[in-house]
């Protein structure tokens, strides 16, 4: 069954015939054939170390067992890992890994997503013959601002060392001493503080490296993972968001060969904080002028907590009536950031264009970073996930895009300035400059999902809450034109208007408020159960 395509070769894995590209390692062939194979040190994004000796395979015609990660598949090769010999090899390999590994799983943060646990459940021998004393090593070693090291738990797979050598190229970590005294560490107190350091926590197969931010916050089996994209910069890495009914807890990279490979930057891992209640804009903050109008009279009559959707509705209705009073469309300014999805822009702009004949938008782009800044790995200077999408939508709708610095001259002429604000204020270095423009305009309507405290002191700004990016969903276009769709997750804060509802209110249509509330679903599959083979 030779492959028709010349670049493909066929081989047999556990009796299953598959075709794989040339220069495929045997361990990859196992993955392609969807066969279980034990392994620690192998990681698809790193070089081969071959030090864990767990991925043993038998090659037909070859008397000795070999490691799969460092064996290349050749045409017609027959490999398997089902024989008694291999099973014993793996079982003993695992027992040697556990020789000095403390069995403190109940207090270990990695439990539940630990390579050693998982592999032992699948391949272990369940009757420990080792009764030697374990070697004691340093615990709770701080490796900088983000990471804690527990040397006793380390099984010396060297993934983290290879990561700092090959991917981040910062060379902080090394394995020092020898034999059972070997330890991962940094030299001369150097800290592991590079921009990608937290990836070492992800690739650590045991609980040796843990993130200071996440550790002891949640047991991982109480978390659900959702696929999303990081909106921290225009790379738009694929990510997993881990959440439960209490909120979002962490961000991990999702392997994506087309974009971010297996990694993401540390900056993007703060994303989850902006989705939780603490940093969100949860209710309308009316400006002085708005609160003295009949808006306030009606809103104060209902209780403040339950009225966030109705008060946003009122605020938007007020905005609509104000917009209708302005005949000259040049007196209306629309200032947008590239942080919203293509669908959001379309809905929002089309209403403004139809109703108020808006034909230009101000583009808020961070001035400190040049658009083409790039650190040769993932981080880009353009801190907006959808700059390309925004410009495309504007082009399709024939809207003129003006740089926001132009507001210096025009802000004082504006009667209304509508702002689609940033979702991550720390990425925007020029926010103070923008606040000056806000003061000059007659009225400002500021939409955002994130609370910006410095706006409270400006009396002409009305702040209206938006759903966060994972509540809105939508399409984002990254720097190279890759379109990525975000799925919609349950709402953290109920009763916040969606973009389409805002557009409907601006359009004078009626909306129903109640069905908005999407009750957070309880976490399923939280029973952690395992069985002996």
């Amino acid at each position: 069954m030779s492959g028709k395509n010349e670049d493909l070769i066929s081989c047999s894995v556990n009796g299953k015939t598959i075709s794989v590209p040339k220069n495929t390692s045997a361990i990859k062939a196992f993955k392609i054939a969807e066969q279980d194979i034990a392994h620690y040190c192998y990681h698809p994004g790193l070089s081969v170390a071959g030090c864990c000796r767990l991925c043993m395979i038998e090659i037909e015609g070859n008397p000795r067992t070999q490691i799969a990660c460092n064996t290349m598949v050749t045409e017609g090769m027959k490999i398997n890992n089902q024989s008694k010999q291999i099973k014993e090899d793996v079982q003993w390999g695992l027992d040697f890994h556990l020789l000095n590994h403390p069995l403190d799983c109940p207090i270990c943060d990695q439990a539940g997503e630990c390579g050693l646990q998982d592999q032992y459940m699948k391949f272990g021998q369940y009757k420990p013959d080792m009764n030697q004393k374990k070697v004691k090593k340093a615990k709770v070693v701080s490796l900088g601002e983000k990471i804690v090291l527990d040397s006793e738990r380390c099984i010396l797979c060297s993934r983290c060392v290879r990561f700092t050598d090959e991917v981040s190229k910062t060379h902080e970590l090394g394995i020092f001493n020898r034999g059972d005294k070997s330890e991962v560490g940094t030299f001369n107190g150097k800290e592991l503080n590079n921009d990608y350091a937290l990836n070492t926590v992800d690739i650590c197969p045991v609980g040796a490296l843990t993130s200071k931010d996440f550790r002891f916050k949640q047991r991982v089996w109480y978390l659900k993972k959702a696929e999303a994209i990081c909106t921290g910069c225009s790379t738009g890495c694929s990510i997993y968001l881990d959440y439960n009914e209490e909120g979002f807890f962490r961000v991990r990279p999702k392997p994506n060969e087309d974009n971010n490979s297996y990694w993401m930057c540390d900056e993007g891992r703060d994303l989850y904080q902006h989705l939780n209640k603490e940093k969100r804009l949860v209710k309308v903050y009316p400006s002085k002028k708005v609160s003295t109008s009949n808006f306030a009279v009606s809103s104060s009559s209902s209780s403040s907590s339950s009225s966030s959707s109705s008060s946003s509705k009122k605020a938007i209705k007020y905005l609509k009536s104000e917009l209708e009073n302005i005949k000259d469309s040049t007196k209306i300014g629309v200032l947008v950031t590239g942080q919203y999805s293509v669908e959001d822009y379309k809905e929002f702009f089309s209403v403004l264009k139809e109703k108020n004949s808006i034909n230009q938008i101000y583009h808020w782009f961070d001035q400190k970073n040049s658009k083409n800044d790039f650190d040769d790995l993932l981080i880009r200077g353009d801190k907006n996930p959808n700059t390309k999408g925004l410009l495309e939508v504007a082009k399709d709708m024939s809207l003129k895009v003006i740089d926001s610095s132009e507001l210096k001259n025009t802000a004082s002429n504006l009667e209304i300035l509508i702002v689609l604000g940033p979702e991550y204020k720390k990425f925007f270095s020029t926010i103070d400059e923008k606040l000056e423009y806000f003061k000059q305009a007659l009225q400002v309507f500021y939409f955002s999902s994130v609370k910006l405290d410095s706006l409270d002191s400006i009396s002409n700004v009305t702040q209206i809450p938006l759903q966060s990016l994972v509540e809105r969903g939508g399409t984002y276009i990254n720097y190279k034109g890759l379109k990525q769709k975000l799925s919609i997750l349950p709402q953290v804060i109920p009763k916040i208007l969606s973009f389409s509802q805002i557009a409907k209110v601006l359009n004078g249509e009626k909306i129903q408020l109640e069905p908005l509330f999407l009750k957070t679903q309880p976490v399923k599959d939280n029973q952690f159960s395992f069985q002996k083979n």
Partner: protein, 162 residues
């Protein structure tokens, strides 16, 4: 910051050119550096070597910590290495080690008042003349307890007269 002497720099450059990769030259370079720095290697030495060789300092540290023949602490003016391998052991090498430690009050991993450091070492290739010891670069063979003590006393005295 430790400065590498011109002589050692020359040595390193020559040594690096002998191998395919720079990393291969780390061991001979560390030995040369150890001579430069009174017989031991500090973190500063590693940093300077890393800068000069353009290799990450942790790579050098990995090699440095793997081998026991590099001294990780100061060894004073006289580093006494007593062979305790089979031939010397059978001829009283271990006793020699204990006697010297007690006589000159040298603690393990420490430096005595007379600036002496002592360590047990494996075979130094002088089995025919056991027991023996090496002080800095020099071998002293066919030792007895008294002879060894006298050798060290002479060395201390010669240092004082200089």
């Amino acid at each position: 910051m430790f400065t590498i002497s011109e002589k050692t720099k020359k040595f390193i450059t020559k040594e690096v050119s002998r191998y395919e990769t720079k990393r291969s030259a780390i061991i001979p370079c560390l030995f040369e550096l150890q001579k430069d720095n009174q017989g031991w290697i500090s973190n500063d030495c590693i940093e300077s070597l890393s800068q000069f060789m353009d290799i990450p300092s942790k790579d050098i540290n990995e090699v440095f910590h793997f081998y026991t023949m590099f001294n990780k602490k100061s060894v004073g003016d006289f580093h006494i290495q007593v062979c305790c391998n089979i031939s010397c052991h059978m001829n009283g090498g271990l006793d020699l080690f204990k006697v010297l430690s007690d006589e000159f009050k040298i603690e393990k991993n420490g430096v005595s008042k007379d600036s002496l450091a002592i360590s047990k070492v494996e075979c130094l290739g002088s089995c025919g003349t056991a027991p023996m010891m090496q002080v800095n670069e020099k071998y002293y063979e066919n030792l007895t307890k008294d002879k060894a003590i006298q050798v060290i006393k002479d060395l201390i005295a010669s240092k004082k007269t200089n």
